[in-house]
């Protein structure tokens, strides 16, 4: 087999997140509207590799994905050995905003999956005017736990093979084996206790359902897309969230589970491409109406 190269480029950026120096790994491909991708708990940016190699996306979008600190190739901050990793809502948003600023992403669309699909609700609330829209995959505006909290204190949570087995049923039965097992490998790879640390955000520090109705979807469209086989964020969780956000759209994806972009990239593309197309069209109309009155700096509001 001859060598074949993908169009993905990787890099490292040194930046401060909530006042702490970090070295963050990111990948990108394509040109156009920035599309910032957020991986699931305990995983890393490789989940987005298929999107970055799809010219139907990269012809129009600059697709950027990064590894949260502690994940993938983004190391924890110095002194990690004396800390217990625990992702908070504030810390998660701070990391996203830091990467958004550092890479100069002008009014990005943010797409996140699972805990990434949760945090986009908060991004739309807190930074909506500085975004072109958010897409929450397997996303909702409040925790909806499906296993007992005491499990988190068991030693198994420090083991990658356990984390993978815990989530394995969230991959739809239709998904090709090669993609299923690569998706699960990301969980095998996770640093010990990192998946558990992400669960702090996902299970206890991401209740937005009281505020989510305040999102102005005329400025920041909200699209929630959930696989029918997802029992972590169920289609019902997603529909209920969309019902609370005026103007939000809920799409239930047949034959997909909790990891649509990595478990079955082709099937996912059939759902995502029309959404991206609509966001582009909405964005062009908005640009015609206002000549860039809102610049995409998150801190500027």
């Amino acid at each position: 087999m001859s060598a074949r190269f993908e169009p993905i480029r990787g890099g490292y950026v040194h930046l401060d997140i909530a006042g702490v120096a970090h070295r963050v790994y990111y990948e990108e491909a394509g040109a156009g509207i920035p599309l910032l991708c957020l991986h699931t708990a305990g995983a890393h940016s490789s989940q987005w590799r298929h999107l970055m190699c799809d010219p139907r996306v990269t012809d129009h979008f600059r697709v950027v994905a990064f590894d949260l600190p502690w994940h993938g190739k983004s190391a924890p901050p110095p002194g990690w050995q004396d800390q217990e990793y625990r992702l908070t809502g504030d810390g998660y948003v701070a990391a996203i905003v830091a990467v958004w600023n550092a890479l100069g992403l002008d009014r990005p669309v943010v797409i996140g999956c699972s805990m990434g699909g949760r945090v986009v609700v908060r991004l739309a609330l807190d930074h909506g005017p500085a975004l072109r829209g958010v897409i929450g995959l397997e996303g909702s505006d409040r925790p909806s736990p499906w296993y007992d909290g005491s499990w988190l204190d068991r030693p198994e949570f420090a083991r990658g093979d356990f984390c993978a087995a815990l989530v394995s049923g969230l991959v739809a039965p239709q998904s090709p084996d090669v993609h299923r097992w690569e998706t699960l490998w990301h969980y095998h790879q996770s640093g010990s206790d990192v998946f558990k640390g992400d669960m702090h955000f996902y299970r206890t520090d991401s209740e937005y359902s009281e505020r989510s109705h305040q999102i102005d979807t005329s400025r920041c469209p909200v699209v929630l897309m959930t696989g029918e086989y997802d029992y972590s964020c169920t289609p019902e969780d997603t529909r209920a969230t969309a019902a609370r956000i005026p103007g939000a759209e809920a799409i239930v994806m047949e034959g997909l589970g909790h990891f649509p972009m990595s478990e079955n990239p082709e099937r996912f593309a059939s759902y995502l491409l029309p959404v991206l197309e609509r966001l582009r069209a909405t964005d062009s109309r908005a640009s015609l109406r206002s000549t860039g009155a809102t610049r995409g700096r998150p801190d500027g509001g």
């Binding site: 499906w146 093979d161 356990f162 049923g169 739809a172 029992y231």
Partner: protein
């Protein structure tokens, strides 16, 4: 395929699968699968399933039990289970099945136990060999 035949075929099929045996190599324990009223007791030693005992069971030890109606297990065993039936945790979340007892051994050996259950589905679909 009769439910009894599926579980009777399980030990030989499981023990000849090196990847499955390796996934369960640290497991020493016993658990129950209940299909409607019928109980199947599965003893595991170092990733190998011993003879499955079919109920009724009297005072037999086990650590955890996974219980569901036969129609639920038939859906789980089908080639393309409906959403909510593709995994024991999906079946638990939607109330189709109950996972009870000491869940510690289940979590410790989760990949293996899920692998065994996936194998029961393959046996059911193949109708034996």
């Amino acid at each position: 395929m009769e439910v009894e035949a599926i579980f009777a075929a399980l030990p030989a099929r499981a023990n000849e699968d090196p990847a499955l045996v390796r996934a369960g190599r640290h497991m020493h324990g016993e658990f129950l699968i209940e299909v409607g009223e019928r109980a199947f007791h599965l003893p595991v030693t170092a990733g190998r399933v011993g003879a499955v005992v079919t109920g009724p069971l009297r005072l037999r030890s086990w650590s955890f039990a996974i219980r569901g109606a036969e129609s639920v297990w038939r859906e789980f065993w089908s080639a393309l289970p409906a959403p909510g039936f593709q995994d024991i945790f999906a079946m638990s979340r939607y109330g189709h099945a109950r996972i009870e007892g000491d869940l510690g051994p289940l979590l410790t050996h989760l990949r293996y136990v899920k692998g065994l259950l996936a194998l029961t589905g393959r046996i059911a679909r193949e109708g034996g060999r």
